[in-house]
Amino acid sequence: MEHLINIVLLGLLMLAGFAIVRTKSLLAVAMLTSIYSLLSASLFVVLDAVDVALTEAAIGAGISTILMLAAIALTSDEEKAPRHTPLLPLFVVIATGAALIYGTLDMPRFGDPAAPAHRHVAPTYLQDTPTAIGIPNVVTSVLASYRSYDTLGEVTVIFTAGTGVLALLGFRPRRRNTEDTGRKKLVILRVVAKLFFPLILLFALYVLFHGDYGPGGGFQAGVIFATGFILYALAFGLSNSQQLIPHQLLYVMAAAGVLIYGLVGIASMLLGGKFLEYQVLANDPVTGQHVGILLIETGVAITVAAVVLIIYYGFVSRRPAPGDI
């Protein structure tokens, strides 16, 4: 049954991919991309990667689609036909694809428990996590403890992306109620948004604090938190949502999250451990791990939420440039 779902989902993904190539309207392409992303999230659930599925659904199907729509609103939604014939690209693609397929022939077969990938460090992580880290979710323990250096780098990448978008698009706060005229009619959206807004924020906190025991963690929580505010902005207008969370606060939050992460590392050095060695944070090493993981996950969530909102506001607060050639 699992295999059947796997095969069908991959087939649908292929269809979505071809549809993206063929479709000329960029708005339709953005929606197809969202479908493609949601399909791959479903596939990740079938393939046991529940944390990845949660992240892909929130980021790929949610935030990326919103950003694409915002960028299309600022540019144009018609795709012109290419000037050159696609023969050369087609040849390059087929040749590369054929070489890659030849390369898969000696890959370990799907689901093979003896594959080299499963025999290196993965068994150690699976065996040691319950005793050394004391949390059931191995993905969280590897992400936040064993490989916390990587995650620190990741948070910095997110922070840099926020800074980059801010440098490219800037940020122009809007005066009150300048753009709300067309939105007055959206009664249903407003009622639903009002109902969902607190629930989304609550769910984000659940995903953050339950990340040790089930699928979830700082990255997902941050994105879900930001979606709450984006939904609010869609229903009630940009100016109202900016009163809810001022942009100066977002800048502080984006930096504060990375700072919390770094400070946990320095604190563990000051207490006699190595950088990001959580065992020294409490009397008991396992409790220390719990404290450290919770702190850095909170830092990650704060930075991700703030950066996603900075990027979103950067796109939607910019006015479209006039005219197309």
Partner: protein, 118 residues
């Protein structure tokens, strides 16, 4: 899974990857190119997650009575890669918006024409 079906996932991943690659190199529209990049990235995610799957294994969340788990390491790598894909998509789209403001178009062919004319 033995036989040719054991490589089915990889082959579809390669088809998806090449679909994304084709969009990037053959389509002149800059937003379409970023969508192509997104399709390519997601196919790589599927590739890694496929390699992490262990037959009859379950999600790597330790619980009593379960002995076989899928490999958690690729999950961690891809989780963070998805977040980075958001960063690259956002930056790419921001650049497209700025290009449109300077050139008045997001079509690569038109941009080349303008560059050669000036």
């Amino acid at each position: 899974m033995q036989g040719p079906l054991g490589l089915y996932n990889y082959w579809i991943v390669i088809v998806l990857m090449m679909t994304g690659f084709y969009i990037v190199i053959a389509r002149p529209n800059l937003i379409k190119k970023i969508v192509g990049l997104f399709v390519f990235q997601t196919s790589v995610f599927i590739f890694f997650i496929t390699m992490a799957k262990v037959e009859d294994g379950t999600a790597p969340i330790i619980q009593e009575g379960v002995n076989l788990y899928s490999n958690p390491l690729p999950h961690v790598l891809i989780l963070t890669a998805i977040v980075v894909s958001l960063a690259t998509t956002a930056l790419g789209l921001a650049l497209v918006v700025r290009i449109r403001e300077s050139y008045g178009t997001i079509n690569e062919d038109d941009i080349h024409v303008q560059d050669e004319a000036s």
